[in-house]
């Protein structure tokens, strides 16, 4: 396929605000997970990757209708790393109506609805006046907020395919640019802590009581995290150092909340990404696994990776650093891949102490220096929605 230039990117997670904070934590092996103190989530014995300071963010008065934790986290993310300035420059080049917006989320600002429901009993079962459904809970609220915050008028949509959402935004943006709807696109993902996901995953018995330990023989489930990440995509040009080379999307057609045991959908997504990038599996230098830390997911993914790549390609799950950021996981891990290429290292699978002997793929228990040219990032979600991204660095272009 025609590659896309990744001109600018940013990420804020439990590791901190902006890419420098992500980079130093990845290098130092420092996790952002802590005991859950979020609202009534504190009733659960679990760890979460909470972003500090989200409640202190205030939105511009014109966008007050969007005010909720999810959009505050988005604003925090957009303010980092000069992302807004990079988008403003792109507006100068292309015009605000020629830049699309594709943002992934699983729950948008549903926490705002949870808070509003608490007032039903003293309010005659009516939702309070302050509650704004369209600006906070509606799935599109996050994409509309990002669009308006950045002053863009190109096509916009929220992609919501659970935990593959913000990987699939790269595919949607690629199609939009190839179709001529726009010349550039802001892609990203934002998901924030809420009781729906904390208690929902708990009900499915998929949440670890300890920190998540992807690929460990004693892994007991995932830790939930929150994050906001964004990237600016443009048509490819000679000056592009980072590129989207391929993407692959597939469906498991198996079960709503469990992966196919042999990872058949995962294999199809990874193969499609390789095919689009015109790369063979041995040309991939590192794989960022979906690796949630649940027994079934990690085993199925390992089987899929081993079937396609053999057992030599270094891979890791970075969810031990951030927790599973759900609809933001795709962008978070794409940014980790870009940082890994940029700074020449493959991050470790943090918190994996004893590798599960059934996991055959080459899981990195320690970070290592490595020149990476092509990396793959996996994101798989409920409903059997799979997406793999193939990212590349042209080291001939200066950073």
């Amino acid at each position: 396929m025609q590659a896309l230039a990744i001109s600018h990117y940013t990420l804020s997670s439990a590791l901190g605000v902006g890419i420098d904070a992500q980079l130093s934590a990845l290098r130092e092996g420092r996790s952002g997970l802590g005991e859950c103190r979020f609202d009534r989530g504190a009733e659960l014995a679990t760890y979460v990757g909470e972003v500090d300071g989200v409640d202190d963010v205030s939105l511009p008065p014109a966008l007050a209708g969007f005010d909720c934790r999810n959009n505050r986290l988005a604003a925090m993310g957009l303010n980092a790393d000069g992302f807004g300035a990079a988008v403003s420059q792109a507006v100068q080049r292309y015009g605000k109506d020629r830049i699309g917006v594709y943002v992934g989320t699983s729950t948008a600002g549903i926490y705002q609805t949870e808070l509003a429901y608490r007032e039903l009993s003293q309010n005659n079962d009516a939702l309070p006046d302050w509650y704004n459904y369209a600006g906070t809970h509606n799935t599109y609220s996050i994409a509309d907020f990002v669009r308006q915050y950045l002053g863009l008028q190109g096509p916009a949509s929220a992609i919501s395919t659970a935990c593959s959402s913000s990987a699939k935004v790269f595919a949607s943006a690629h199609r939009a640019i190839a179709a001529g709807y726009c010349d550039a696109a802001v892609v990203g993902g934002v998901d924030s802590l809420c009781l729906t996901t904390l208690f929902g995953f708990h009900a499915l018995q998929l949440v670890a009581q300890d920190v998540c330990r992807p690929m460990d023989s004693e892994r007991r489930g995932l830790s939930i995290g929150e994050a906001a990440g964004f990237a600016l995509l443009e048509r490819d040009h000679d000056g592009a150092r980072m590129r989207l080379l391929g993407y692959g999307e597939s469906g498991d057609a198996h079960h709503m909340s469990a992966p196919h045991p042999e990872g058949l959908g995962a294999i199809a997504a990874m193969q499609a990404a390789l095919t689009r990038a015109e790369l063979a599996s041995h040309q991939v230098d590192y794989i960022n696994l979906h690796g949630t830390g649940t027994a079934a997911n990690d085993l199925a993914e390992s089987r899929a990776v081993s079937a396609l790549f053999g057992t030599d390609t270094p891979c890791s799950s970075t969810k031990g650093f951030t927790g599973h950021t759900l609809g933001a996981a795709g962008i978070a891990e794409a940014v980790f891949c870009l940082l890994a290429m940029e700074h020449g290292f493959a991050p470790q699978s943090l918190h994996c102490r004893n590798l599960d002997p059934e996991i055959a793929c080459h899981v990195l228990l320690e970070s290592r220096s490595a020149a990476l040219r092509h990396v793959l990032s996996n994101s798989f979600g409920f409903g059997g929605s799979n997406c793999s991204l193939l990212l590349g660095m042209n080291s001939a272009v200066e950073a």
Binding site: R40, E114, Y117, Y131, Q153, A158, R175, A178, T196, E249
Partner: protein, 264 residues
């Protein structure tokens, strides 16, 4: 970008199935929006059928109408599910569970709460492994769905089921999102014409001017304005009338999206 319409599915009160609904949209039959009984998806295995929520059932009403008996072909379809709000009833039940002193969220409610629930059930029902996108653009979800689907069909050469569906909003949330009736529509799109093609559709995203199309029938116009998935009605009217023309649908940044229908 041009795609061909292989078949159409329709499911809403007064518009049950494309064959009957087409008569109403063409003005040859009266519109009677008596509420419908709960739709029973025929293609779902028993466990999934039992767990399917209102929004899943409503989407299936149109999807099953569109594919009919062509199940082996349905397994090869990519999919775009455009829905403004997903399942309000499930969100309502979860938020109520979260209010209680002892919180117990139903695991089935939780996995049904994802925006791609209908897409997930549909892939299980048909065995489809092709790409599937679930999206929202609030009141512009129809336009966003068209823009997502057309390059899947034309550039990636994937026959695609494009589904617009939104269910009615439960009582508690209705004051904040007043959608009164369910509506779903599915368009089976192909990259090349086939012996079964009904028409072609061309989508213009960069149409900077144009007035949003409306329905001449007042009751259908009320439905179009009330349910975000029903914003597709002006396009369906052209298809029902076997009449070439252009439907203008409001896009997510205020830019209209023009869909041109041709019969040739």
């Amino acid at each position: 970008m041009r795609a061909w319409v292989e078949s159409i599915g329709l499911f809403a009160p007064g518009l049950v199935g494309w064959n009957a609904g087409r008569e109403v949209l063409a003005g040859r039959a009266a519109y009677d929006n008596t509420p419908l009984p709960k739709y029973k998806p025929a293609l779902l295995p028993p466990n999934e059928r039992r767990r399917a929520t209102n929004s899943v059932r409503i989407a299936f009403g149109a999807c099953e109408d569109a594919v009919g008996d062509n199940l082996s072909e349905a397994a090869d379809l990519a999919a775009v599910f455009a829905s403004s709000g997903g399942d309000y009833g499930v969100h309502d039940q979860i938020c109520r569970a979260l209010m209680r002193e002892e919180i117990a969220v139903s695991p089935t409610h939780f996995h049904n709460s994802v925006h791609n629930a209908a897409a997930g059930y549909w892939s299980i029902a048909t065995g489809a492994h092709a790409p599937s996108v679930s999206l929202s653009a609030h009141d512009s979800s129809v336009a966003a769905g068209l823009l997502e689907a057309l390059p899947l069909v034309t550039l990636e050469q994937l026959p695609t089921l494009l589904v617009f569906s939104d269910c009615e909003v439960v009582a508690t949330m209705h004051s904040k999102r007043p959608v009164d009736e369910p509506f779903s529509c599915a368009l089976w799109l192909t990259p090349e014409p086939t012996s079964r093609s009904l028409a072609s559709v061309q989508v213009n995203a960069n149409c900077t001017e144009g007035v949003e199309s409306t329905c001449a029938n007042g009751e259908l116009e009320r439905l179009r304005c009330n349910n975000p998935a029903a914003r597709v009605l002006p396009l369906l009217e052209l298809l029902a009338l076997n009449q070439g023309g252009t439907a203008v649908i409001q896009g997510s940044s205020g830019q209209p999206v023009a869909v041109t229908v041709q019969f040739d």
